[in-house]
C-alpha cells in the first residue's frame, strides 16, 4: 500500500511535520513493499537501517551537538510509530538502537560523550542492548554475566539472551556484575561489536518479527577498557532501568503503529467485501469492531504522547511510560486479533498482512518488561511500602 492513509497528528513544529512526511515517504516506498516477503524469509534488512541513518532518523532524540536530531520524544516516538506501521522489524529496531544509545547519552561523562556519541547517533551504526540472560528476564537484577577487573579495564564473561540485533550490531550496551548479588553489584559497559570474544549465537526462530535478529550474545573473556564503563561501578542497574523507561515508550509507539496498520487493512476490506448483498462494513457486528479498534488506537497514542510530554518537560514519567506500554501493547493484541476477524478467512492467510500483525503484536506484550511487570511497576509506584 503506497498511499497509506495519513494519521491526523498534532505536531509541535514545521520541522516535525516535514520529518513525519519524510518518514511516511520512506516507510511507504522502502519499508512497506518489502516487509511481507522479508518476514517470510527471515531476512534482516540491514540496508534499511543504513538508509534511516543517512536520513538522520537513528539519532532523533539525542542532542544536535553530538550529531543527533535534537527532537523531543513527542516527535521521535511518532516517527517510530510510522516506521512500525510499515514494518515492525524496522520500527522496533530503531527504538532498540535508541535504547542502546541511552546509557552513553544520559550517564556518560562529557569526555565519553564527545568521543563516542556522534558515532552512535549521527550515522548508520546499529546498537544492541544486553540485559536479559537465559535464566533471568523479568528478574533482570539476577544477571550472572561477570565483569572482572584487569590491569587496564574489565574482562566480561557470560551469556546474554534475547538480544535484538545480537551478532549484527555495531555496538552493545552490556550489563554485567562487578560486585555483590542484586541490583547494586551491576555495571554498564559500551562494547564494540568487533571486540574479540564477543559473538552472536544463531538467531531465535520466532513466531513473528522474524526479520529482526534476536539471539544470544556470548561474551568469552571480552576485554573492555575502563573508559568504556558508563557511570560508576554499581550504577549499571540504574543505567539499564532508565533506558527501559524511555524504551518502553518506543514499544508503545511501535504497538500503536502495528495496530494502525491492521486497522487500515480492515477498513479498506470492510468497504469492499460483500456478504448478503451488502458491504460487510454496513453490518454493525463488523463496524463496531472497527470503531472500537480506532478508539483504542487513538487512546493508546494519546497515552504514550502524554508520557512523552512529561519526559520532554523534565517531569518523572516512569509510571506513565509503564501505563502506555501496557495499554498500547494490550490494545495492539486485541485490535490485530479483531482485524483478523473482520477479514474472515482472508485474515487467517498470508495473502493479507493482518495475521502477521497479530503474530507481531504478541511480542510487544513480552519485551522490555512483560505486561505483568508493567503492572508491577505501576502498582509499586502507587502503593507505599
Amino acid at each position: 500500500m503506497t498511499n497509506a492513509r495519513e494519521v491526523e497528528r498534532q505536531l509541535p513544529s514545521q520541522e516535525a511535520r516535514d520529518l513525519l512526511a519524510l518518514t511516511s515517504d520512506i516507510a511507504s516506498r522502502e519499508l512497506a513493499p518489502r516487509a511481507a516477503a522479508a518476514e517470510e524469509r527471515r531476512e534482516f534488512p540491514r540496508d534499511l537501517f543504513g538508509l534511516l541513518g543517512q536520513a538522520g532518523l537513528l539519532g532523533l532524540p539525542y542532542p544536535e551537538e553530538y550529531g543527533g536530531g535534537g527532537q523531543p520524544y513527542e516527535v521521535y516516538l511518532q516517527v517510530v510509530e510510522e516506521l512500525s506501521r510499515a514494518w515492525l522489524t524496522v520500527g522496533l529496531g530503531t527504538s532498540v538502537h535508541c535504547l542502546s544509545c541511552h546509557g552513553l547519552a544520559t550517564f556518560g561523562s562529557d569526555e565519553q560523550r564527545e568521543r563516542w556519541l556522534p558515532d552512535l547517533v549521527g550515522g548508520d551504526l546499529l546498537g544492541a542492548y544486553c540485559l536479559s540472560e537465559p535464566h533471568s528476564g523479568s528478574d533482570a537484577a539476577a544477571l550472572r554475566t561477570r565483569a572482572e577487573r584487569t590491569a587496564d579495564g574489565y574482562r566480561l564473561s557470560g551469556t546474554k539472551a534475547w538480544v535484538t540485533h545480537g551478532g549484527v550490531a555495531d555496538f552493545y550496551l552490556v550489563l554485567a556484575r562487578t560486585g555483590e548479588d542484586g541490583p547494586k553489584g551491576i555495571s554498564a559497559f559500551l562494547v564494540d561489536g568487533g571486540t574479540p570474544g564477543l559473538s552472536g549465537a544463531s538467531p531465535e526462530r520466532k513466531m513473528g518479527l522474524r526479520s529482526s535478529v534476536t539471539s544470544q550474545v556470548v561474551l568469552d573473556g571480552v576485554e573492555v577498557p575502563v573508559e568504556r564503563r558508563l557511570g560508576a561501578e554499581g550504577d549499571g542497574f540504574r543505567v539499564a532501568m532508565a533506558a527501559l523507561d524511555a524504551g518502553r515508550l518506543g514499544i508503545a509507539a511501535g504497538a500503536v503503529g502495528v495496530a494502525q496498520a491492521a486497522l487500515d487493512v480492515a477498513v479498506e476490506y470492510a468497504g469492499q467485501r460483500t456478504a448478503f448483498g451488502r458491504p460487510i462494513g454496513e453490518f454493525q457486528g463488523v463496524s463496531f469492531l472497527i470503531a472500537d479498534a480506532a478508539a483504542g488506537i487513538e487512546a493508546a497514542r494519546q497515552l504514550y504522547l502524554a508520557a512523552a510530554r512529561r519526559k520532554d518537560g523534565g517531569l518523572p514519567y516512569g509510571r506513565q511510560a509503564a501505563m502506555a506500554k501496557l495499554v498500547a501493547t494490550d490494545t495492539c493484541m486485541r485490535v490485530t486479533t479483531d482485524m483478523v476477524q473482520v477479514l474472515g478467512g482472508a485474515g487467517y492467510v498470508e495473502d493479507y498482512p493482518v495475521e502477521r500483525y497479530m503474530r507481531e503484536a504478541k511480542v510487544l506484550q513480552i519485551v522490555e518488561g512483560t505486561n505483568q511487570i508493567q503492572r508491577m511497576v505501576i502498582a509499586r509506584s502507587l502503593i507505599q511500602r
Partner: protein, 263 residues
Amino acid sequence: METMNIVVLIKQVPDTWSERKLTDTDHTLDRDAADAVIDEINERAVEEALLLKEAHGGKVTVVSMGPDRATDAIRKALSMGADEAVHISDAALHGSDTIQTAKVLASAIRTIEGVDLVVAGNEATDGRAGAIPAMLAELLGLPQLTHARRVEVEGTEVRVERETEDGITHLAAELPAVVSVGEKINEPRYPSFKGIMAAKKKPVTTLGLGDLGIDPSEVGLAAAFTSVVESAPKPPRGAGERVEDQGDGGVRIVEYLAAQKLV
C-alpha cells in the same frame, strides 16, 4: 566552467494518488481538493541539479510559481539540498496559461545573476502541457535540450541524451541553456533530517508581479490565450474486453496489448 549557477523550476501539483478535479466555476484545477506535493518529475530535476552542483561546485536556486502553499514544495527542494529559492506568488496569476507562465518564470529567472543552466521537468503531472521548458528557452534566448535521460556538463558545454518515442538523440549546446528532464533521468534522494533543519534557514525570496514589472492585466484567467469552456469527469471504467481462450489466448492478449501500444 569553474562553478555552476543552476536554476531548477519546481511546481506543486495535486498528489496523483488523490482524486483530482476541476472547479465548477472556472474549470481551473481545484487545488484545495487534493493533497499538494512537489511534482515527482521536479524532484528528479532537483536531483539532477544537485548532482551537477556536487560534480562542479556552485549553487542551486529553486524557482516556483504558485499559491502560498507552494512553500511546502519549495521547502522540500531546499531540504534535499538546494541553496535558495524564489517564490512567485500573486493572486492575479490564477488561471494563467502556459505562455503567461513561461513569461513570468523568464522574468523571475532574469532576476538571478549569471545563470548557467535552467533545469525543469519535461511535463507536470497536472496540466501536462509539456511546453514550458521550450517556451522559456525561447523567451530567454537560450538553447533548449529537452526530454533528457542523461545530462553532462564539460567545460562550457552541456550534453544531453534526449529520449522520446522517436528514439534517442544526442544533443549538445553552449551554456547557458535550458534542460528538461524525463522520468528516467535519476532516482531522487530523500531529504535528511539535517537537510530539513537547514532548509529553515535558507533564503526564500517572494516576488509579486510588481517586483517583476509585469502588469496584472497581462496574466491570469481573463488574459489567457487558452480557455477551458467545458469539462466532465472521466467516465467510469468500462466492462473491459473479454478474450475467450481457444488455444490462441496468449497471442490475442499480446495483439491487444500491441494495439494499445503497451508492448
